[in-house]
């Protein structure tokens, strides 16, 4: 019952997002075909508008769009003349997903590790070092970090290629650049959550039982402390796997991230809607999975909708 209700809510959410995006997007001034390079004669513009159904009244455009959405057809891209939004996503998403997953793994692994080390060495040198790193990670934006990584790893030491996409070596620097900020955030979450947990009575009980410190930390500590981190990685996962504009631009990665920004500048309506709908679908699914995973990690949490 919970799952059915949840699924219905998800569909309504996506529809609402698509509708709102449609309204907002059509209310920005500007025309996808406007250009300084060649202002087209009105008749030619009409021909081109007709090609994209933009000559029809807005409600009709909306209805047509929703009809296509039901068949998972996101329409043609205005900017890439011969390609449609489905292809753009099919080409770009796998690239962004690989990059996003790689950086998520890095962020989780090192973030959790740093957080635990900091918490277990509370107010000692290692704690300060770990938190210093975390603060740097949060405050140095990726568009500063990325060129620095390129400068040293690619230009000075010639260990990795500067940019572009193709081999695994190409993905290392962008993954690191992308992982740094989430890693730092996770480390801080993990630290405070871990500190909280380690003060609990059941930890003291475990100590009294004579469990080894490692067993206490792994079985009782991490398992309880990780819940807030999971809440955070839900949306993070959705953001990372759908690509990020800045990193993709700096490293010339053919991912999905650029479309979120470029489509708005170009007023490429089908791409604006397509990427927004795609992202929100991934996001609501992820949030759903996060809710389910709570239950797996902590059996005390029950999955119920309000009123049940």
């Amino acid at each position: 019952m919970y799952i059915v209700k949840r699924l219905l809510t998800m569909i309504v959410t996506i529809w609402l997002i698509a509708t709102l995006t449609f309204i907002i997007m059509k209310s920005i001034p500007g025309d996808p075909f406007a250009s300084d390079a060649n202002v087209l004669p009105e008749e030619v513009l009409q021909n081109i508008r007709a090609k994209y159904n933009l000559d029809k009244p807005l409600p009709v455009q909306y209805a047509l769009y929703m009809k296509n959405l039901l068949t998972f057809d996101l329409g043609p891209s205005i900017q890439s003349e011969t390609r449609d939004v489905n292809t753009l996503i099919a080409d770009g998403f796998p690239v962004s997903a690989v990059l996003g997953l790689q950086s998520l793994v890095i962020a989780l692994l090192f973030g959790i590790l740093l957080g635990i080390i900091a918490a277990l060495n509370h107010n000692r040198l290692l704690d300060h070092v770990a938190m210093f790193l975390a603060i740097i990670g949060i405050s140095v934006p990726s568009f500063i970090l990325a060129p620095l990584l390129i400068k040293y790893f690619a230009v000075e030491w010639k260990l990795l290629p500067v940019a572009s996409w193709g081999t695994w070596a190409h993905s290392i620097l962008p993954s690191i650049a992308l992982a740094t900020t989430p890693m730092a955030v996770i480390a801080r979450f993990m630290r405070s959550s871990m500190l909280e947990v380690m003060r609990q009575n059941y930890i003291k009980t475990a100590e009294a039982k004579g469990l080894s410190p490692a067993a206490i930390v792994i079985k009782h500590g991490i398992r309880n402390a990780i819940l807030p981190v999971i809440t955070f990685i839900g949306p993070l996962f959705a953001v990372l796997i759908t690509g990020t504009f800045v990193i993709e631009k700096i490293f010339a990665i053919p991912g999905l991230g650029k479309y979120f920004v470029d489509s708005i500048f170009n007023r490429d309506y089908p791409v604006i809607l397509g990427t927004t709908v795609f992202f929100s679908t991934i996001l609501v699914i992820t949030l759903f999975l996060v809710d389910i995973s709570y239950r797996l990690i902590d059996p005390r949490i029950k999955l119920t909708s309000r009123g049940d």
């Binding site: 001034p29 500007g30 004669p41 007709a50 890439s80 011969t82 940019a163 572009s164």
Partner: protein
């Protein structure tokens, strides 16, 4: 025409042998050249929006398409139009009917012959209202073309006809002095009729893509790279040295600059501003004039720019040298007219013949401003707002102009910026007093520049309409004698520059870094570099 082409070719052969001789260091040049893989990696900066000649309307797509296709005319190393896919042309006495003979050995990259029917089909496809080709209006010089494109005529009435497999007849509405230049544009390239008819998405992927030029498309990884390789069926393939050209798509200036430094790219354009100072004395650094003008448009219907003297006063009060030397810094030239450098005329470069139409003179500018205000009966100049589209360089230039006007004329203007597409809408609706704009000629002729301010030009956002100017332009277009044609164009520019519905600021330039391993790259004044004749001389 054939003779000219042959002699240029011979000259080239000679030059290349001489150059090759210079480069050899002990080893036999032939042997060395054979061992060097003739490959070059360029940067397209972004995904080309379309590799279909009918749909492309940007220079990135055009850069690649120009290497893949060849029109009836093509450009030689000097940028002059020479016969390409056509071997011969006959022009009727009234200058209105052109009869082209398609080369016997002109072939598609799949080996099939290029036919006159392919051209007829390609051009009518551009004009077909259903195609929605953004550059269709460049064909309006052809009889019946405008009517068909605007839905008022039929394809049969268009003056393009294949008389047989190898003969193409083109009828123009009126004689056109630069029809050969126009024909080098990608909109006029042929497409393979049987392919395009059977597959409307033929140009979306490398697989199945067929072209008739020096290269064929072999790989297209969207948003990542385009690879083209020498077309073995190209009639003039012996003139092509470079076997393989790869375009990466790196948009970030710092990144592509670093890729050049590590050798991942062989040629880059538009260096990051901070790198220009660093590379200025590098032999690999090159600045080429670019066929375009940066300007501020006036809305002549809005005060105070309804007054020509005030417009002129503003133009004279700006220090262009300071702008190009301290702000843009990449070899731009101060502009005192509209048509940029780069048009070869019988009397020399069009700009040098025409000269400057005004000078910077603060004293004179102040006087003109006072006179203008007196004519209008203003004791105080109406408030002026200068708008520009949001970008760092436009902002810096606008701020400099604001400061110069304050210092030189004592006029305080306001600045406002808007995001690009919003900006285009604002200026299209003439909702401005003074606005920045740039214009780049799609082919190198004063006409494409001056047409900008025709009374009925959709580009003309200034509300300035001048019958004398329009008449001179119309006359110039049908003038068959090149010398007279340029004279008329000079006269037209003079009329425009006397009234000044805009302030020219500078003529654009384009900067490049090119690896010293390459020779023979051509840098046209309104396109990205042409590598058809390039040669790699060192690993």
């Amino acid at each position: 025409m054939k003779k000219v082409f042959a002699s240029i070719f011979a000259l080239l052969l000679l030059v290349s042998t001489v150059l090759a001789g210079c480069g050899s260091k002990g080893t036999s040049e032939d042997g060395a050249a054979k061992n060097i893989k003739q490959e070059i990696t360029l940067n397209a900066m972004s995904e080309p929006p379309s590799l279909d000649p009918a749909l492309a309307s940007d220079t990135t797509s055009g850069w690649i398409i120009d290497h893949l296709f060849e029109g009836l005319y093509t450009k030689n190393q000097k940028g002059e139009p020479v016969l390409g896919a056509a071997s011969d042309v006959k022009v009727s006495d009234d200058g209105k009917t052109y009869t082209f003979t398609i080369r016997d050995n002109a072939k598609w990259s799949d080996g099939d012959p290029v036919t006159a029917q392919d051209f007829e089909y390609a051009w009518k496809r551009v004009l077909d209202p259903k195609t929605g080709s953004p550059f269709a209006f460049y064909m309006y010089y052809i009889k019946g073309a405008e009517e068909y494109n605007k839905g008022k005529g039929s394809a049969d009435q268009v003056g393009v006809k294949a008389l047989d497999d190898k003969t193409l007849q083109v009828e123009l509405k009126a004689p056109l002095g630069y029809f050969d230049k126009l024909l080098t544009m990608w909109t006029f390239y042929p497409v393979k009729k049987s392919l395009v008819e059977s597959n409307p998405k033929w140009a979306a992927e490398a697989k199945g893509y067929v072209s008739n030029g020096a290269y064929r498309l072999t790989e297209w990884k969207h948003n990542s790279e385009v690879v083209i390789e020498k077309n073995q069926h190209y009639w003039n393939k012996d003139a092509i040295n470079m076997e393989k050209v790869t375009w990466k798509m790196v948009n970030d200036a710092t990144t592509y600059y670093q890729m050049y430094k590590t050798g991942e790219l062989d040629l880059i354009a538009t260096l990051p501003t901070d790198a220009i100072a660093q590379e200025k004395n590098n032999k690999e650094f090159k600045v080429v004039p670019y066929f375009g003008t940066y300007m501020f448009m006036f809305n002549v219907n809005k005060e105070p720019f309804n007054n020509a003297k005030i417009r002129r006063a503003f133009a004279m009060a700006i220090d262009r040298k300071a702008i190009v030397e301290n702000i843009t810094k990449s070899g731009e030239k101060p502009a005192y007219a509209f048509v940029p450098y780069g048009v070869n005329t019988p009397d020399g470069d069009f700009r040098e013949v025409g000269g400057a139409y005004f000078e910077e003179n603060v004293k004179e500018a102040k006087k003109l401003l006072q006179e203008g205000m007196k004519e209008e009966g203003w004791s105080k100049l109406p408030e002026v707002t200068l708008i520009y589209n949001t970008a760092e360089n436009h902002k810096k230039i606008a701020e400099a102009v604001q400061e110069m006007l304050k210092r030189n004329l004592g006029v305080k203007i306001k600045l406002a910026n808007q995001e690009w597409k919003t900006y285009l809408e604002t200026t299209d609706q003439s909702n401005f007093q003074m606005a920045r704009m740039g214009w780049i000629g799609i082919f190198v002729d004063p006409t494409v520049i001056l047409d900008y301010y025709l009374g009925d030009s959709p580009n003309n956002r200034t509300n300035w309409v001048n019958k004398q100017f329009d008449d001179l332009m119309a006359k110039a277009k049908v003038e068959q004698d090149d010398k007279k044609r340029y004279e008329l164009l000079h006269e037209a520019e003079k009329v425009l520059m006397t009234d000044m519905p805009f302030i020219p600021v500078y003529f654009y330039s384009q900067n490049y870094l090119t690896s010293p391993k390459f020779k023979g790259i051509v840098y046209p004044v309104n396109r990205f570099p042409d590598v058809r004749w390039a040669k790699k001389i060192a690993e």
